[in-house]
Subunit: 193 residues, 2 copies
Amino acid sequence: MKELREAIKTYGRGLGNDVVKVDMFLNHRIDTALLYRMGEEFAARFKEDRPTVILTVEASGIAMAVAAAHALGDLPVVFAKKGATVVQSPDVAQAKVYSFTHKRENIIRVDKRYLPIGSRVLIIDDFLADGQACQGMMALCAQLSCKVAGIGIAIEKGFMPGGKNLRAMGVHLESLAIVTGIEDGKILLADDD
Amino acid sequence: MKELREAIKTYGRGLGNDVVKVDMFLNHRIDTALLYRMGEEFAARFKEDRPTVILTVEASGIAMAVAAAHALGDLPVVFAKKGATVVQSPDVAQAKVYSFTHKRENIIRVDKRYLPIGSRVLIIDDFLADGQACQGMMALCAQLSCKVAGIGIAIEKGFMPGGKNLRAMGVHLESLAIVTGIEDGKILLADDD
């Protein structure tokens, strides 16, 4: 998506050889106009997969999820909660997620009532790196007998294995921008997405 | 706001004498149509305060903040990050917040660049109880020489002192629903807001 690639080029910062900082428009400050354009783009790319609910993880996926949900006719959004510990409850589905960014394991959980059996779930997240967060959300969907209708990502780190693994599983994955590498603080992007 | 009051009556659950659970449509699952109606309502109530940026705290304020920002002509949104520890950085403004819900102290912080001097800040949050989160965000605004244009809250606990204290300070505070008490699990609401 051209506008997102341009925002990354203009405002993104590359740190080391794998960190992409987009605090200026996505992860701390949100460029609302760009956010809603991204929501429309997700809607266009996933409309034919007929999602009935959007699933994301707190916190930075929430803004994009509600923008996409709005563009898809006000679908409900469920955001998985993140915690360090397992919650013992028959009402809750949970999965382990190793955070590449924070180098620690989290538990993500959802109240089972909010992803009813047979839901067609569109998973939305800001970043895709090694794919742990997506795999965790897919595990929640599997536990709850929901179908993953697709996965929409803002920024995929193309040099990490997450995207390749998900595509190999046959999931409909769409990334609005793909980072191919970082060189001397400069973020390199694929020409298209 | 009538639609919000009706959602609270239908789906909200009262626990003990002070906990209001609205997981079904606001805090875990989001009713997107209601969310955007709330965003429009905030926009109508704060338009004349001419906000230039919306400030909230992760995670559950983010959805409402972007809905309100969209209705106000795509204002930028900044979400303060929450953490247990003070971050030592000249680029960061921070304030202490005691969480009534979780019975612990958090630090909230924003990157100074994202609230430029002179910004007119509309603070948005899901709940107002003792007002600690709002006071923390107001402290960030004061540190950064920004003006608090107003405070928009989804659900105010009218039996807690936060709203009264903020109104006494002369802040333009708008709560879309006011809970007056909880009796035997039933949430009691003020007739108007």
